[in-house]
Assembly symmetry: C3
Homo-oligomer: 344 residues x 3
Amino acid sequence: MSIFIKNAWYVAAWASEVKRDLFKRRILGENVVLYRKEDGTPVALIDRCAHKLVPLSMGKLVGDVVQCGYHGLQFDCSGKCVQVPGQDRIPPTAVVRSFPVVEQNNAIWIWMGDPALADPAKIHQVLKTDDPKWAVIDGGYQHHMADYLNIAENLQDPAHTTYAHVSTIGNPASSEVPVKVEGSAGFVVSFRWTNNAPPPPIDVRNGKFTGMTDRCQYYNFFAPCVSRVDVVTMDAGQEHTEENMDKGLRAYSYKFLTPETEGSTHFFWMHVRNFGLGDADLEADQIKGMNQTFDEDNAIVGALQREQAIVGVRQFTWLAIDAGPARVRKMLEEMAQAENQKTA
Amino acid sequence: MSIFIKNAWYVAAWASEVKRDLFKRRILGENVVLYRKEDGTPVALIDRCAHKLVPLSMGKLVGDVVQCGYHGLQFDCSGKCVQVPGQDRIPPTAVVRSFPVVEQNNAIWIWMGDPALADPAKIHQVLKTDDPKWAVIDGGYQHHMADYLNIAENLQDPAHTTYAHVSTIGNPASSEVPVKVEGSAGFVVSFRWTNNAPPPPIDVRNGKFTGMTDRCQYYNFFAPCVSRVDVVTMDAGQEHTEENMDKGLRAYSYKFLTPETEGSTHFFWMHVRNFGLGDADLEADQIKGMNQTFDEDNAIVGALQREQAIVGVRQFTWLAIDAGPARVRKMLEEMAQAENQKTA
Amino acid sequence: MSIFIKNAWYVAAWASEVKRDLFKRRILGENVVLYRKEDGTPVALIDRCAHKLVPLSMGKLVGDVVQCGYHGLQFDCSGKCVQVPGQDRIPPTAVVRSFPVVEQNNAIWIWMGDPALADPAKIHQVLKTDDPKWAVIDGGYQHHMADYLNIAENLQDPAHTTYAHVSTIGNPASSEVPVKVEGSAGFVVSFRWTNNAPPPPIDVRNGKFTGMTDRCQYYNFFAPCVSRVDVVTMDAGQEHTEENMDKGLRAYSYKFLTPETEGSTHFFWMHVRNFGLGDADLEADQIKGMNQTFDEDNAIVGALQREQAIVGVRQFTWLAIDAGPARVRKMLEEMAQAENQKTA
């Protein structure tokens, strides 16, 4: 049974990656070629000519159509063949699959399932990318050698940061604060507040706090592919309203998981914050720190996936800290199963 | 079912590749070791000692016999063991398979099937390699990551040159001229004449044409492994006899396909021409251009073969331009099938 | 059926390889992590956390316990979990397998089978490593791409040295002397004496012989994993007693074979001798010569194993020189089979 959930919007690429040439990427096991029309609209086709299967990404763009690099067949943005060399008649089989794509919040989103269900309104609403009071780091990309379920578990798992990310986000102090796990349809959140405590030096620097602070982390997972970690540091003694939290230091750390194959994942990351706008040093530090953190995750999650394959077992022991990760996995596995049964 | 046709002569190596040392090459799935006797005669044995299976190519030549590098067993040119260390008796199992080989037209030809059927008179007659009025480029070799059927189709396919070989032999003008396909037992030819047309600049330079020309390309395939493309440019208005064609610019572009495995092929190429003898610049250009062209073929045919393996389908749509390629494939597949049934 | 014999002591590592950090090695198909306690005692655990299977070698040592690099679970030397982050209760499943290990004769020996049978008294008694009159070269390690059965055969095979090790230990003269093969439970020896012959120049240099000599090689194999080649050169005309042999030049060349997988082997080598103590040049020559010899063995035995896998046959022809190798293989295969049947 496939672990893929096909009827969903995934990040196929950053908006900046797709231009007026042919960009290929494997997504949910399919080879896809992406490009922009002359008017900038993104297009996604299966990367395989309808004649002799040559990857269309080996060809070239001619206006808004893709010309195969083998015999020159031309396909328009809908995948329809519009020219065959040496003959006028275009056979009805000369068509390639096209995929719904939408550009939104700096990314190209793709729908790999039934096109009839591809409602752009269902694309995940990424926060604050268009708010001038917030700074955006986008374009982060890593190739992870693990399936998206193991990566999703890891993203929903605050407990590992103390040990796996010692030199970046690891924080032994906060590891003792218990995490609550809640959720709703297609959503899981693990969170913790550390109230009325002195702020760490980095928050003092960024937020100029003079007294005690309340701090929180929310690990949100929106099925099937978006993780958003919210981090807030605010003056202690206030109500935890959206408005008050926005007055403190606040950041959203996004990861968009796009399965490449059953064992590898495109890991797109983005970061938005309401402080340090225009602070190039801060931003360079953040980029470096996040890439290091995600490299460490990739090493560990890749290793556990290899061990799972050897042993044939996913986990030996269940701990209290597994509540969030286990809930995310269960949600995703049930969605994949439901979709598989419907298709079967 | 194997796609190999075993009862046929294949180019095992260029004559210049095989010397007084042990040269190994995988041919039709078999590891073969080639060498020359002291009198220059080529020899081919299975590359595997009859004792403990060590590749004989790890050993050395002692006179005309091969000595295994593990225990020193010696095998003569017929594969018979003539010496065993530490004992006088030579066990009847101590024999390695030998393959019929013949040196002809600058190549070593090998017969991988039933030796009783190996008639040297059936070796393909390569044209003009011994004619002092013709120049020969031989020794061309590439390793292609596709099976010989896909490569044979590509060699019988004039239509792709316009798109796949833009900077070398691609010629949009001629792509509009329809190709005729004919054939006979073990032979397919696709050809086209472009008559009474101005010659391209390169032909003017090589042939000093002052008026209109007739030009042709013949794509000949001789089963199972020889492709010969004949190209002629001649003054217009003459009969297209062999004699008149020889008065114009004429060249034979040979490719000899030797399956290495079910998914890879030794691609030997040779070129003979009746013009520009002694023109080193012309020859350097030709070598460069042909290597580039065949690299491009390898990239595309390798890619389509990978896609075929993923999809489990060889072709989605049939076009008019597929007549020649499809006919070559059918011929080869029927020959392989007939041979498999006879052996079974 | 597995070719592994599990209930036996194997060299897991040289004593010098295992320190106060986490050292990983695959042994008999299992990933093992090795380290030393603060008091120097070696420890071996399965390299896989009892929680989510992350290799423990990605974590770190905390005193005598291993802390997983993912969530900080701590395991003691017996494999028992002694700390779980975020909870007081330690689940009964939180335990990793530990392996009996013993440090002896410069090596760490490991028992991969039933721990109840792990009797340290059964560890192979390596000779002379603690005798000040003998010089020891240890720490030799190579990774060999063949199973331990093929390597064991090769080590029991004097006949190949003449052809495979021409520039080091190959000696055409002695190849004509017949080898005797004897054995007992768990032991095979092939040996030959060349008596009353002039000594080779190297022995004259090392041993100051003035007359005729008796020389011998004994190829001993102690199941399942120790090969010891004894070489003696002594004045001719004496009885071949242990005492007299010790008065001549005498050396023990050890190889300890530890299966890594069904197709690869850790090849540890050690050499002890009663001459040239403190002769750094001699020792450097020996190290260089032995590494070259074992590289040559690895190339040949690796090649024959690949050919065996292609052909599905291990050997085509049996020769007189195969008596020793065949007897070693039979012994090892029978031991593996007996153990498999007992476990099944």
